[in-house]
Amino acid sequence: MTGTSPHGRADRRSAGELESEVLAALWATEQALTPAEIQAEIGGGLAYNTVHTILRRLYDKGLVLRDVAGRRGTYRPAKNAAELTAEAMHQALDRGPDPIAALQQFVTGLSPEEERALRDLLGGSGP
């Protein structure tokens, strides 16, 4: 069902991984997205049908909402569980660095000169 991309990558991603990618794409933007928009956003030659199937699965799990903001056929992430998680995370962060500092975080702190070096690396295209 998964299409092949010019790089032949899409077929290497499992259903679970694709689900994460679709959910991440929906969370990354403020707007509700149609399956076609998500397909374009994710890229990698993912078939439209695949995107559709993943969205239906996410909908069944209650992780996304359908037809929101007056736009038919669009999807938006459901916020309830995500807000509870954010609350729990903030509590853990406030309580002290221990529980989360002990984890393998994606990135950690930078010194000012490191920050300059990274901005140079991004060549102004950065945030």
Partner: protein
């Protein structure tokens, strides 16, 4: 016994000294494995050596001493009493440090469990609707699978390809059970504080390992490096009441590593490191035999 018992201490210093070099030259997957195994063996050996030193105090135990006096035997003392007493003290300290490490781990597990509440069991990604850019892996437990937690702020700051790098990086932590390595070296350095620097080396190496896996998954080292740089910069900005700016240059070093070719699986370096871990264990075994001889001498 006299020398054997001190060998583990010297070797743990040696191991700590070479660890950063190993991390630079050897593929992070291999380096993490051998350093962790060596650390655990060394910590076990040093702890055992302390137990042996403490056990020599048995000479002083009243029944043994009294019996020896009756027989008119002179007791053989392998180590000065003061050292044996110091060993007892050190063992108490170690027990306390291990207890603390276990408690920290337990607290972390509980916190992480709370973060997963309300999310369906069979989804890999947990999003937190938070303005704090943050991402980490939640290791699997006996009752729950591993998850990836990313905040909305972090997802919003990255381009699609960069989000794939982030997901692949955290996924690598889960598939390769990096939390176990981190836990193992945490316990090892609790038992042997000399190994503390090695713990940060391993912490850094599992990040490198996950970076390499992510680069492989997306098929592009430079995008992986860019994703790291971007994530580091957004995570940098708003740090509300967060005192943990342990700036150990880790991110810039990781980016630099991604900009060069991946280090090879160099067994010529990895094997001696493993040997460094095995030697203290052998020393400990030898010392044990000496002590058993001694006990035989004392008790029979």
């Amino acid at each position: 016994m006299r020398i054997d018992v001190y060998i583990p201490l010297v070797l743990s210093l040696l191991l700590t000294t070479v660890a950063p070099q190993v991390g630079l030259r050897v593929a992070p997957a291999l380096a993490t494995r051998v350093l962790t195994v060596a650390a655990v063996l060394t910590a076990a050996a040093t702890t055992w050596a302390l137990i042996l030193l403490a056990a020599t105090l048995i000479n002083e135990a009243p029944p043994v001493a009294a019996e020896a006096r009756e027989d008119g035997r002179r007791l053989y003392e392998p180590v000065p009493e003061i050292i044996a007493l110091a060993a007892v003290l050190a063992l108490g300290l170690i027990a306390h440090r291990i207890y603390r490490a276990l408690r920290t781990e337990h607290a972390t597990r509980r916190t992480l469990h709370r973060l997963c509440e309300g999310h369906p069991e069979d989804t890999e990604l947990i999003v937190a609707a938070s303005p704090v850019p943050q991402a980490f892996a939640i290791p699997a437990t006996s009752s729950a699978p591993g998850r990836i937690l990313v905040t909305a702020a972090m997802l919003g700051a990255l381009q699609p390809a960069e989000r794939r790098v982030l997901l692949a990086h955290e996924r690598a932590h889960l598939t390769h059970r990096h939390a176990l390595y981190a836990y193992a070296v945490a316990l090892a350095s609790a038992a042997n504080p000399l190994l503390n620097p090695l713990r940060s080396t391993v912490t850094y190496l599992v990040e490198r390992w996950a970076d390499e896996q992510a680069a492989e998954a997306v098929g592009d080292r430079s995008i992986t490096a860019l994703a790291l740089a971007k994530a580091a910069l957004v995570a940098q900005r708003p740090r509300p009441a967060c005192a943990l700016s342990f700036s150990d240059r880790a991110v810039t070093r990781r980016i630099a590593a991604l900009q060069s070719t991946p280090p090879p699986y160099l067994w010529s370096i990895a094997a001696p490191v493993l040997a460094l871990g095995v030697l203290p264990a052998l020393g400990a075994v030898d010392a044990t035999r000496d002590l058993l001889d001694l006990l035989e001498h004392v008790l029979v």
